[in-house]
Symmetry: C2
Subunit: 364 residues, 2 copies
């Protein structure tokens, strides 16, 4: 018999978070939670509900001048004996502990409660709760929805509820991974001089990486810190053979001022003459904080202050559609995926207050 | 029914080589060949036969002032569609083609024929044919014999019939392998600055290796060429993680003027402050060509000329017992283990002539 849950959206956001977390939804097993969300929203006439697999869209159609997309994923990484949730207090701060509390069911709880209660927000809102965020990109529910129903992505501004400690984090760095190879000539190591050592030839690559000073780049008022690192190296055939190949796996996190193509050109410039194979390339996302709605959101919620997002998140999907997008949610991102994942309760209520006041008071 | 072979030691050394090769004896399957050798030698009263597993010793006891040990292994590396043997002619040189022709059944054929025919050599001779040379050291038949019957290793000089193109090759380089490790601090690669990249820290190690100029060291008249090489490198956890460990696998082939301990001290000197783990250490062997019997052998067979042996061979076992030892056998060592393994026929007969004349004419 499948687990069932009756979500009570009139409960507190903290209680809703607890209920959402205790219904496990590791990527690939989101259906019971998606069912519960659809059931909980069914009674609210101000919302149109659309379901695509385990992704649920709920939107208002009030004829407002502007529309905001507010999204969050409902899946989590696998458990590690960290459910059911429990409340705990550390250094006088109250937390809810357990898988999903940070990444990102506290954010989803805030979104669900506001979706249900805000019958007349000052902007039209398209709420999205999607599956398969924690696994490979081709399974991502938001990506699937963008392919199946691009019309639902109409909007002027997007907010993703990923954990940011309740700060506003704009855009995200791009992510490029390449394999750089050196080649030599195989030989018995007892007669090394008839061979050519491919591992020795990798020395200049490591020297360039070790000496590289990553840039800090200001993009639309936010300073993005880049990173260039070897994340892997392999070479060698046997203990008595001069190796004829060595591979350095390089990861470049680049500011959203650079396109993916420009990032790759930068690596070719840094490592001229080496064979280079692209393993993965994800464009960054400009923060888009100069958009009027973003400015208003920033002023209302962030006290005018925003931070750059270093990791890649789904805001890049909105950015690719030309929509300014930010991350804003409760929870410390350093506790995401951690065995001791836990969210500070005050951050959940702060986010609820911030988002509610902006959606009800913004001057549009 | 097991393969059987009747070895006819009155045939030519070329014909004996062919017969030995066509009876496969990949390491671990030497018994049929060992049986055939024992049977072939049974009729010769000037020889005392001792068997230890698949290792056979045949020795004269003529009361000569000096004793020479002449040894060869009877196993081969695995086949690769290169048996049965065939005769072929390339660039007007006649060859016997097939697994074992070079490494080292041509040498064993010469030894068997001379063991049978030389009833009164000018020195006493201890012939040894042993198993398991091509596999791990702890299985080596010569090593086992030295543990079981150290008394059989009495002698003034040793000749190992490994392929040397019919040249005399003295001693051998030592062989040291170490793992050198660097350590860092793991972090998400989106926030590389909170970590410490262990692969980048391996750059100085590769720089030292790439810049290293290996010595050429004269030892008792022979010049040994050393080699220092990375034979492997590994590091990395995942494409988005700053690695906290990197390992460089280093192989040092060192001249026999250096002990293993001195070789290791040299590496500690080259790579100060790094964690270093010894994987394998085999002492080199001094050529011992200043010994009177070696001098006579050199004059008679090598025209006074000898070469250093770069690879490690079982001569080091004799050297460790204080007995001067050389490699001397038909076949090009570069064809050992090759799929097109083949021995020039003239080298087999040249070695037979060289060894026969020295064993019958040396002035002792």
């Amino acid at each position: 018999m499948p687990e069932t849950l009756t979500l009570n959206l009139s409960a507190s956001v903290i209680e809703i978070t607890r209920q959402l977390c205790d219904l496990q939804s590791v990527s690939g097993n989101e259906t019971p939670l998606a069912d519960a969300i659809v059931a909980a929203l069914a009674g609210f006439d101000h919302l149109e509900i659309i379901r695509d697999g385990d992704t649920i869209v709920a939107r208002t159609s009030l004829g407002r001048a502007q529309r905001v997309v507010i999204a969050g994923h409902i899946d989590t990484v696998p458990l590690n004996n960290n459910l059911p949730t429990r409340f705990e207090t550390l250094d006088e701060v109250d937390y809810l502990w357990g898988r999903g509390t940070v990444d990102m069911k506290a954010g989803v709880a805030v979104q669900l409660k506001l979706a249900a209660e805000l019958v007349a927000p000052v902007v039209d809102v398209t709420w999205m709760w999607y599956d398969h965020e924690e696994v490979s990109d081709d399974l991502n529910g938001l990506g699937r929805l963008a392919r199946n129903r691009p019309d639902l992505f109409a909007g002027d501004f997007a907010i993703l509820g990923e954990p940011t400690n309740g700060r506003i984090e704009g855009g995200c760095n791009g992510n490029l991974r390449v394999e750089i190879r050196t080649f030599g000539l195989r030989a018995h190591s007892a007669r090394a001089w008839v061979g050519e050592n491919a591992i020795h030839k990798a020395a200049p690559i490591l020297n360039i990486l070790a000496a590289y000073e990553p840039r800090s780049v200001e993009v639309e008022g936010l300073v993005y810190r880049e990173g260039l690192n070897a994340v892997g190296i392999t070479g060698g055939i046997a203990g008595n053979v001069i190796p004829d190949e060595c591979m350095v796996h390089v990861n470049y996190r680049f500011a959203p001022s650079r396109s993916g193509a420009e990032a790759l050109a930068h690596l070719h410039e840094l490592f001229p003459g080496y064979e280079m194979t692209v393993v993965d390339l994800a464009e960054g996302a400009r923060p888009g904080l100069d958009a009027p709605l973003a400015q208003q959101f920033l002023a209302a919620v962030g006290g005018g202050d925003a931070m750059p997002k270093y990791g890649w998140t789904d805001v890049a999907r909105f950015s690719a559609l030309g929509m300014p997008a930010v991350n804003y949610g409760p929870g410390d991102p350093l506790k995401a995926h951690a065995d001791d994942e836990r969210v500070a309760l005050f951050q959940i209520t702060d986010c609820e207050i911030g988002l509610r006041s902006w959606l009800t008071a913004a001057a549009n």
